[in-house]
Subunit: 486 residues, 2 copies
């Protein structure tokens, strides 16, 4: 069946049905923790059955469509709808267990999980049943799995915001057909993702965490999510654990195709990647400046100042959002730096969100070139990335992306102000959800949460998380009338 608009509805139903069955299956994985830690543990079983059942029903309805073709338009719809639908079903464990009784709150928390944002409406995380805490962190991990495939294999094909340039460099992948490309790429990326997960979990266990906490914090790290099982995030853990999390945040914020090269011993190829180099330079330089400032202004010891600086800087740049120190207690200029880092974002092809290092890099380079072009109006002065001239068309798309990002950010501030939030909180909430970071500034800062935001605000911020996570265009394009014309 095709709709009157020429959209292959059956295939969309089929794909989303399949993904719901997968989601249901993931819900069952929390059952061991439910059984081990409590006696009343049917919530995850019920949720998993309903979710997988709904998915099965959808697949039955769309069992064997004549037309198996999934085009670009179906691609946009599947991607956007998937995040919404799995977030809707993902609320079930919260609702059944009563851990989050209000539907709005449960949806916010689930969307925050699947978009790897890490913004929470919970005021006492530690009071939640362990099985539910596991599910909460698992939403990050599932979201991260989706994102790396999306950003490396799907969005470049759809032609979103210059992505085709930044990540289409995985060897042996033919970008002509969507389906084989996704399968082939997904397997390699997930292998890397799984490897990171296993190694970090082992290291956290080695550092003294129990299995549940080790898994939850690993999920939150490799997906650059930020949900913790502790009310104080990572602040209460040992320096060893903090350093482990720092290293894996850095790895998770790196283009996953570079991990692929590194695992094949091609380190020169990794270092030749300009985005990677600038990403390393950026957090290193900012960390050194913050370390010196914390030592001077707050008389902290070298190691502590270094660890606090590095942790917060890496956590914000990669859009993870874990916290090991309340940066809002730092002198104004220092948390202003942290705030500005919210507009950097992870690397393209990583699980990190936000604007992305490579886009900011191109924007800064182009700004410099624009001055050169004024001096030599008749010369062709291209922006270079990895030593190669970048097509003007790509720069144009990157600038358009940034502009729409800023417009939505400003609109977000306006909506939050309209709901009565103060200046800092409105700015912080808009920046931290659109950038998929989690903690912002003001009342939604590192020690605050999103509990007190009005209901409408929670739905709006959930939408911002979705927009930011799907590189804006994937969602926005569906909202244009032109998209629905045959």
């Amino acid at each position: 069946m095709k709709s009157g608009l020429g959209i292959n509805v059956l295939m969309i139903t089929r794909v989303i049905g399949f993904l719901l069955i997968v989601e249901g299956g993931f819900m069952f994985t929390g059952i061991p923790f439910s059984l081990y830690y409590c006696d009343k543990c049917y919530d995850l079983i019920y949720s998993g059955l309903i979710t997988a059942g709904a998915g099965g029903l959808m697949m039955l309805i769309a069992w064997n469509p004549k037309n198996k073709n999934i085009g670009k338009r179906e691609g946009y719809i599947i991607v956007s709808l998937t995040w919404v639908v799995i977030s809707l079903f993902g609320t079930l464990p919260y609702l059944f267990s009563g851990a989050i009784p209000a539907f709005t709150n449960a949806f916010f928390e689930t969307m925050s999980g699947f978009t790897t944002t890490g913004a929470s409406i919970l005021t006492d995380i530690e009071s939640l049943p362990r099985g539910i805490l596991f599910w909460r962190s698992l939403t990050h991990w599932i979201g991260g799995m989706g994102i790396i495939v999306l950003s490396v294999a799907i969005l470049p094909v759809l032609g979103i915001g210059g992505m085709q340039l930044f990540v289409a460099e995985m060897p042996g992948i033919q970008p002509d057909k969507l389906h084989p490309r996704i399968t082939q790429t997904a397997k390699r990326l997930w292998a890397i993702y799984l490897l990171l997960t296993v190694v970090q979990t082992a290291l956290l266990l080695f550092g003294g965490m129990d299995l549940l906490n080790a898994l939850c914090h690993t999920f939150g790290t490799v997906a650059t999510g930020g949900f913790s099982t502790q009310n104080t995030s990572i602040a209460g853990y040992s320096p060893f654990i903090q350093y482990v999390i720092i290293i894996f945040m850095i790895l998770a914020g790196t283009n996953f195709t570079l991990h692929y090269f590194a695992l094949h011993g091609r380190f020169r190829r990794v270092w030749k990647n300009e985005e990677f180099r600038k990403y390393i330079y950026l957090f290193s330089i900012v960390t050194l400046l913050l370390t010196a400032s914390l030592m001077l202004l707050r008389h902290e010891e070298l190691e502590l100042a270094f660890r606090e600086s590095l942790f917060q800087v890496v956590s914000i740049i990669t859009t993870t959002g874990y916290v090991s120190a309340d940066y809002l207690l730092w002198p104004g200029i220092l948390w202003m730096v942290i705030f500005l880092l919210m507009f950097v974002g992870g690397s393209a092809g990583s699980t990190g969100g936000g604007i992305k290092v490579v886009r900011q890099l191109l924007l800064f380079k182009n700004s410099g070139m624009e001055l050169k072009r004024l001096v030599h109006p008749n010369a062709l002065i291209p922006v270079r990335l990895n030593g190669k001239a970048v097509n003007q068309e790509i720069i144009f798309k990157v600038m358009a992306f940034f502009l729409i990002y800023i417009i939505i950010f400003a609109f977000g501030i306006l909506v939050m102000s309209m709901l009565g939030l103060d200046f800092e909180t409105a700015i912080g909430a808009s920046a931290a959800t659109l950038g998929n970071i989690g903690p912002g500034i003001g009342e939604v800062g590192p020690t605050g949460n999103y509990a007190s935001i009005p209901v409408f605000g929670k739905w709006f911020l959930s939408f911002l998380m979705l927009l930011g996570r799907l590189e804006l265009f994937t969602v926005l394009i569906i909202l244009t009338p032109a998209f629905w014309k045959k």
Copy 2:
């Protein structure tokens, strides 16, 4: 004489020398007010003699250069240097009279005047000698004279930020040679500027102001400056006077070539200008929303709510910066709207500063088109302005302009935070000086001033005013190494 870099230093000296003589001449015009209001009134005479004398000396040195050619590079240098040099000499009346004893403060106030910003370091304006107040407002008027010629005749030729498209529509002007074009255009524009000045002064006199106040407030209005002679800005004046100022702020924020058409009865041509229509729509719609909000939330009467809304909205959009109500006392969402309006700016070819209506218009339109382009990747979908397709190259330049504006704005926040300013004040000071508005938010809000900013901060903000006023590129290009290569 040409410098080793091939720059015609003699002609630069000659032009700036000439402008200093003009500045000195303008200083003398304040003498009647000095004589009338005080007995110790030699400050303006001394200042004028020194300024004109220095200018004369410069012209003597560069009396009859063999090479009278002024190219683009000389153009950039003359424009940027002029604003700095006349601001340096413009401090003399403040320093000699002791009205502003500190050189940093005097320079900030003068730069704020000549860039038509209106940001002040004065805490008690009314205590200043009348002759000095006249000079202070006159710096606005001189600055405005410079700006309309610059934006209509000079910057388009230099190719700055898409200006060539927005304003090069004055009839009968040949853009091939810089010199005759400037003379011809300048005469027409100044006639309009003078007409606006005379009419507004007459109306303010009619409204009960004395000549000095009428002239000072007219200067501050038609130049979209914002310096008042009163500590409470325009708040203490009658509704009639407030409406007069509103109307002339609107006119001053309009493209001056449209005034030219209107004076020739070609009103259809005026209304066909899309930037003008969007400018009218924008402040009308925002005013209506604010009026309703003030009536609902602050229980103000219709006329007062309307007048307060219209005044503040028009004052901020046109970057004038006069104040008739303290918008920071309004509910958060309302002054957030005012804050966001700081990023609109006046029309291209007006005396208004900031990003400009037409640029924001193109940016918003292009953002919509970018989505359409994703739906139809092979179609050529141009942005249209005034019914005509706009070259991609222009959109590219406009986006680059906006990006550099945002980068400088963010850098400004960072520098202000580093000096210890709080979050709101740092943001407000950066936005209000770069946008040539004057009052911002926080401590530099409508009832505050820039007195408490540290010395380095005042110099930095003076630089932001210069950058914003000269459309960024005119100044930035001089700071690039490429500019100085032969």
